[in-house]
Symmetry: C2
Subunit: 129 residues, 2 copies
Amino acid sequence: MGGRPALSKGETEIARVLWDIGPACVRDIHESISQSRTIELTTVQTYLRRLESKGYASSRLQGRARIYSAKARPSTVIRQTVDDFVERLFGGDAVPLVKHLIEDRGISVDDLRELKELIETLERSEDKP
Amino acid sequence: MGGRPALSKGETEIARVLWDIGPACVRDIHESISQSRTIELTTVQTYLRRLESKGYASSRLQGRARIYSAKARPSTVIRQTVDDFVERLFGGDAVPLVKHLIEDRGISVDDLRELKELIETLERSEDKP
DNA sequence: CCAAAACTAGTACAAGTGTACTGCTTCTAA
DNA sequence: TTAGAAGCAGTACACTTGTACTAGTTTTGG
């Protein structure tokens, strides 16, 4: 499929920020991440370079600064990553994972209701295809 | 937390087999995996050694053969792995992942019903704690 | 008894990852 | 106008991971 090599943990962290704050320079990303943990600016720089070389980001020089933008859409990346994860840990069956998540994850009553509605909608649409 | 280093992809594959078929020697595990993909026996051996050194398995010699047993319970490992995963990809919020899974994963009508019941049970129990 | 089979322990090694330093260049403020 | 800040590209390096070979040791079928 996508052909892109999978993202590592650290790369995913950076990609999320990039999706979040949109096109940004190294410093912006670094600042965003620094709020939750310590990391060197040059480390962020390395990740961004790797993201670009794997095809998940692109960059252009704007004046003196290099601006990075996400290239793959989050939904695509999430899909691939989740596929892989479910395969790895549950042999491809998503149901046990869903159960684990809703049972074990302190999901709020409101969210539960919303999920239930989502399920009901799906049931209806699969009932009469 | 748990102190154990995280499992890699390949290690997880082996650990799942170990949970599945219970204490087993290298050859047993190898045979089980060979049904779905090609892998050298010695590769399996290496994985088992690594599982042991990371604290996820233990082994004893039974006669000439070394028998490996899982040491961590699946639920524990799954919890840790899922925690990490949700954090990494969704900033700790499980709801989007659940949505993705039930919307996008071709879950059967029967399973959907079951999930709905699970949710209803949870709603009731959280309603009056 | 002996060659082949079954096992193990040890070692290897390239690719990927996390983390970061260095050194060069261009702005900018005093 | 010049020293420090801000950028960037390049390089480094130890650790992990995936994958496997090799060389020994014990067992076993003929």
